[in-house]
């Protein structure tokens, strides 16, 4: 009996050791949720690539239609456009605050949206940098992916710096304990952005070294150089702009598309002039054909060109870029033989004009020869192309006193659209010519070059935006005398507001920090002056 007793005791003490010594007992998997662990996000090359792809999608991050609506709205706020068909788009009112310059305040949808969604993108990049740095993947792939993440983070921060000034600089080392993070100075913010683009430039392959067509659309060394040049232009480091832009030209990798209209062709990707673009297809892609399209063409008639822009082309005698930028009611559409008299739905549209750059010829539509169907169209959003870099370079050169280089670049861009060279210019006249050229070359494009330039370029310390808008703004005054038969005619709201009259010069040069951000900041996050 003693034996039985000891056997029992040994058995039971064995059971103790067995059931409890295994720490893995409490390590149970989580079924049903996509955890980083379950999905293997950072365990494999494909997982890491897929994560970085998710960061790209943050460029257009929005909880609706996966489109960064603010990018659409910003162009309409300038002298280039109108918000358009307010009556037909019930949500448009929420975009009027910024899109028609009615009230740039800390709760305006676009003021909040750009901030919120690009910071989400930054958070995605930071989480990716943190995890991919330690991921068990091929070193060269890791280098490239980290380069892409730094590029994207710089890209997101750049849009924040341009529009909000110095911002809270979250990086991959920031932890939740650091929330809320106070705002950094504008100089620190630009330094951070440039460091990201420099990292990207050093670690990314050239576009030509990517092996597949799809991969060629990823961030490349050239894209990093272009944005580095642009970041330096914004922050006033013109020598660095020249250095970065000339390095890009020195790659001899990108070339102007000989035919200006070809840049905006349907399903035309990785063109020789395109440096960074978002591809598009019918599943996810460009919403502008539909948003900007005529109400008679399956579109919304929202976000349309102004007569002022058309006049700018006419004044310059720039017909190639005019017809490839603006479609006008009753006129044929350049490049679409099927349309001889375009119906711009002038009674339901602000200006009777439409962006040609987002128009899809009838024959190329799906289904063909019908109004737009579906929300997304296969047309790339080009963010950065060579002509833009050349003009950035030209401006920096002009500002550093190198009028020769500046004029050469300017005239190269003009030559493509059969415009006579501008010669003998220097100083402000040269710079003004370059800014005008940028307006004509890049009008309506998703990169919002006009919005940027109007905020960036100062004359006597006053931004172009602040001199054009506000109660005494030059553009606001011009609107009083505007006799265009279409422009603003059916848009009572915009006409009565005399678009831009409520703009507060100086103060509105920067967006306010969103109210929710200030409130959640517990006093650590300061508001921009004047708000």
């Amino acid at each position: 009996m003693k034996n039985i007793k000891s056997i029992l005791i040994y058995f039971l003490s064995g059971a103790i050791v067995f059931t409890s010594c295994k720490k893995s007992f409490t390590n149970i998997p989580y079924y049903g949720l996509e955890t980083v662990q379950n999905t293997g996000t950072f365990n494999s090359a494909s997982g890491c690539i897929s994560y970085v792809t998710g960061c790209y999608s943050a460029i257009n991050l929005n909880d609706w239609w996966q489109t960064m609506w603010t990018r659409v709205v910003l162009e309409t706020a300038t002298d280039n456009g109108w918000l358009g068909n307010l009556g037909g788009f019930s949500n448009a009112a929420s975009y009027r605050a910024v899109g028609s310059l009615e009230a740039i305040n800390s709760t305006a949808g676009d003021v909040v949206g750009l901030f919120q969604f690009y910071y989400q993108g930054i958070n995605q990049c930071n989480f990716g940098i943190l995890n991919i740095s330690a991921a068990p993947i091929d070193a060269s792939l890791r280098t490239r992916l980290l380069g892409e993440l730094h590029f994207l983070r710089g890209f997101f921060y750049m849009d924040l710096a341009k529009n909000y000034g110095g911002v809270s600089l979250y990086n991959e080392k920031t932890t939740t304990a650091d929330i809320p993070l106070k705002r950094s100075s504008l100089a620190e913010t630009w330094a951070f952005i440039k460091a990201d683009f420099e990292y990207a430039e050093a670690n990314l392959p050239q576009r030509k070294d990517y092996t597949t067509t799809a991969d060629m659309a990823r961030a490349s060394k050239g894209a990093a150089m272009a944005y580095l040049a642009y970041a330096n232009l914004w922050s006033g480091n013109y020598d660095s702009t020249v250095m970065a832009a000339s390095a890009l030209l020195g790659l001899n990798e990108y070339h102007l598309e000989p035919n200006y209209g070809d840049i905006f062709k349907t399903a035309y990707y990785n063109g020789q002039e395109s440096i960074f673009e978002i591809g598009a297809n019918n599943l996810i892609g460009n919403v502008n054909p539909v948003i900007a399209g005529s109400g008679k063409d399956g579109g919304w008639g929202w976000h349309v060109p102004s007569s002022n822009l058309e006049d700018a082309f006419l004044n310059e005698g720039d017909s190639i870029r005019r017809v490839n930028t603006i479609i006008k009611d009753g006129q044929p559409v350049a490049g679409d033989p099927a349309v001889t008299s375009w119906n711009g739905n002038p009674s339901g549209n602000t200006s009777g004009r439409n962006w040609r750059k987002y128009y899809i010829p009838l024959a190329e539509r799906n289904p063909a020869n019908q109004g737009y169907a579906g929300r997304w169209q296969p047309k790339a959003y080009i963010f950065m192309r060579l002509a833009n870099v050349m003009l950035i370079y030209a401006e920096a050169a002009a500002r550093t006193g190198d009028a020769t280089t500046a004029s050469t670049l300017l005239n190269e861009v003009r030559a493509r659209v059969n415009l006579a060279p501008k010669t003998g210019l220097s100083g402000d006249a040269l710079i003004n010519a370059i800014i005008l050229e940028k307006r004509l070359e890049l009008a309506g494009e998703y990169a919002d070059v006009r919005w940027d330039d109007l905020h960036r370029v100062k004359v006597n310390g006053v931004t172009l935006m602040s001199s054009m808008f506000g109660p005494n703004g030059t553009y606001v005054q011009w609107l009083q005398t505007n006799t265009d038969p279409y422009d603003g005619r059916t848009n009572l709201a915009e006409v009565t507001q005399n678009k831009g009259k409520l703009y507060i010069p100086g103060t509105n040069d920067l967006f306010p920090i969103p109210l929710t951000e200030i409130e959640a900041g517990n006093g650590k996050i300061t508001q921009n002056p004047g708000y």
């Binding site: 390590n27 792809t53 998710g54 989480f127 297809n281």
Partner: protein
Amino acid sequence: MRSLLRTAASTARNSSVPLRAGRRMLTICILLLCASTGLWAQQAVTGKVTAGGSPLAGVTVTVQGTRTSTKTNDAGAFTIHAPTHSKLIFTHIGYAPQTVPAAEDMAVQLEVTTEGLGDVVVVGYGTVRKADLISSVGSISGKDLTTFKDPNAANSLQGEVPGVRVLSSSGGPGAQPNIYIRGVYTIQGSSQPLLIVDGVPITSGFFNSINPDDIERMDVLKDASAAAIYGAQAASGVIVITTKKGKAGQNNLNITENYQSQTLKRPFTMAGSAEWLKFQRLSNPSFTLAETTTNQYDTTRSTDWWKAVINPHSPTENLGISYTGGTDKSQYAMSLSYTDAHANTKVGDWKRITGRFTGDFRINDWLKFGGSIAPRYEYWINTPVDFLGLLTTDPVTSPYINPNLQHIPASADPTLYDATWSAYGTPYGGAGNGTPPPNYVFSMNRSTLNPNQLYGIQSSAFMEIQPIKGLTFRTTGGGNVDASTASYFVPRYYLNPNNFSNLTVAGSSFDVKWNWLLSNVLTYKFDVAEKHHFTALLGQEAAEQKEYYGSSQKVSADSTNGNNLLFAYEDYLNMDLTNPAVLAAFGTNALTGNASTTGGINNAYWVRRSAYFGRLEYNYDSKYYLTANGRRDGNSKFPPSNQYAFFPSVSLGWRISAENFMSSAAWLNNLMLKARWGQRGNADAITRSTWYSLVSTGAQYSFAGQQAYGTAPTQIGNPNLKWETDMDRGLGFEGTAFGNRLNFEIEYFDNKSSGAILTLPVIPLSAGQPNSPTENIASISNKGYEFTTSYIFSTGDGLRIVPKLSLSHVVSKYASLGGVQGLDVGAQDGYREQERFGMSFTRMYTGGVVGAYYGYKVLGIFQSQDEINNYKDKTGAMIQPLAKPGDFKYAKYGTSGPINTTDDRTFLGNPYPKLNADFSISANYKGFDLRVELYGSYGQKVVNTTKRYLITGDRASNVIAGSYNNVWRTDNTKASNPNPATGNNYNFSSWYIEDGSFTRIHNLQLGYTFPTLKVNGIKSLRVYVGAQNIHTFTKYSGFNAEIQSDSQQYQGIDRGQYPVPRSFNAGVALGL
């Protein structure tokens, strides 16, 4: 060398002579000693001390007038040498001392004097004598539970254990009360205690899963040192239930029957049609209802909604039968119970059948085995009656329109609708008032289509081995399963153009919960040098808990397409789904595609726990005590690196009364000082997915027109998330005096949880997080005291009266919120608060009490427009520019601008009582027993949201009769209530706050136990009558000052919850 050895050997041999001589001498001496004692008439007295039929160990037996004493052993036996004709004094803490003449084979029975002190208390994986207890444990015996018969034993805890608050949740039969032990320990988790039945935690059903008749005792482990051995699950206290076991040689069949009749007191007389119309015309300019006698509205009569829905009396019946018995080798207990509780509404009830079999078997002198199994079945129909809504339903609506469907408009086809479910009037909800209120007669009757059922089994088994004296090895295993189903059926009905259904919908959901536990505990009990008593315990435990739920719903095809698939409730219940034709007819109609089936199964919950624990109990001569606990706890919810944490606790005790310097204070029988320190963990505040980083794989992008899918984070996890830790400190005195008749206990506790888990509700956009991070950043402090005293009066002729008073107090504060300045707590009931008040009632802020009310402070009522115009801030701007005469004037706290929620709210009150008091008297005389229980809470504030409807008639609701004369009108400016016409007075303000102090006569019970009956076979018979909740003394103007709440941060908000019924009961307990 050799010679030397030899010498040594011889020396040894020689030395044996005197040794032997010495032994002989000793024997002689002893013999002499014996002879001498015999000479002095000394005798060896033996005997046995028992209490309540069980042997009592540790009783001090002293020869009167000498220092000779001994103690009884485990069998209660003692041997002492005492002179003939001497007297022996038997003393033991918790028992009345006895002086008995020494005799042979003495049989001494000690009687318990001090309530419970002689008892054994369960302290987790073991027991300790109450007298030796140095942690904070409140106990309640099964006998006390059955004096007040409630199908849910938690309700019997109310008032029994200081520091324990029992609050009914949403009322109705079968509803589970919430139990709070000494405050709040976590922000996001539950503060409900852990319930353990026979060593196995109950994770489903809580107190509903146990027949109160099966409970031998409940022990409430209140502080860290008592609960720490249960580890993290015990963060909010532990209630340990020990079920009844059979006793050797005592075979009893007990039959109990109890009948209760419950009555809801009508809280207010509501206005009749005439006053309601007058009131609504005053308060709402757009109120357009004219005098009418249509079917739905009849202004010539006044519907009494209370009478239409509430039963005058609702019966509850409890029937129980149990058999206990056994021999030395095996003991067993078996019970069956049946409960049928009717709601106070005409529809709604809860039925429960429970069974339990318990057996303990001694295989031999070192091996024991036992276990229990307890199946149960529950069936209930919920009553969806909102009592506030019921009272405020307008009186012009008929609860039941005519049965010929005359209210269905001519344009509709009456044959499409089910007559039974279409005949009810929709109450008046004027234009702009949103969805009209429901017709509660209809809602109530429709709930009969929504039955719920639950099948559950609790089980546990143990094996105990005692290889050597004092060493016990016990292994316990157990598991519980609860499976419940809820069914619903929506018939075709037509109530009004906005409330009808052309479709029939049938659905069902299930929920299966199960858990198991295995524990192995080694206990070694030993004494060193008689006075050093040790009990050492080492153990290990593993447990798992899972839950699955799922639901499915079928909707009939659309009736308008000619493919009319009407099905009825009976069809739904009795349908043969294996028949394809039935299935097709039921819903899945491939032809039209209109019918739909939805649903799915979810793996809702899965947690594993693993722990090691140990405890050392030491006492020196029952004078100095030390208990040390340690538990290393592991929980699968935390990140792998933080799953395990160690929680220690120490308690010290000093029996001051045992010191020599106290010997002069003979009146003081016992005085013990206790001090405690301990840590408890809490894993309740997070779900098992909280710490993970989650991604969605749905991010889309296009590279050069080619579709690419990417992953995007949806939750940035916190891999550093760890246990919440509560540090508990306590100090207390406990004692008895005056012949152990006076008993007192006082305790102070001060605990602070650190690393309390908080999901930051508001984070800056710049953090870029898709969801707010969850972190260990907050901290909560609880401070309070508990005081209990009782006194035993007894007379020689058998009268015994024991009054008992308990007082307790706790204040819970947010010591820190991780840098967050303050957070409004989201509304718990959107219908009543967020929508209607548009602002939160409570706010969390550092240093603030948990559940602090936060709103505008009312300074008075504006009597004139001039007064409004003159109410200005420092800048000269009007503070309430929109106010009208008759509106509240609110205090302005911000510097400038109109009144707003950001600047001008202030602390308006604390929902927690300043004092909880329980008072009871137990009296016995001959066969009679009487018990009176009162309890009360004092100083707590209550938010009476019902005033908005009952007094100001908002949303076309009915008002308390006479309200018209009590509201501000231009011709009645002295009124205390605001102008109902402006709609400006529905901000959360101090007007809604009232003192919620109350005293309730909780229980009155009178019983009579018949003296030994001559009837053959009847061993005992007790009959009793009683009454519960007879009266509540309060100044509170709402239904019930004792506010029920499911959330510790949202206490005291009266939304007109299910009131507490008054009940009368009678019962009989028969022992055979």
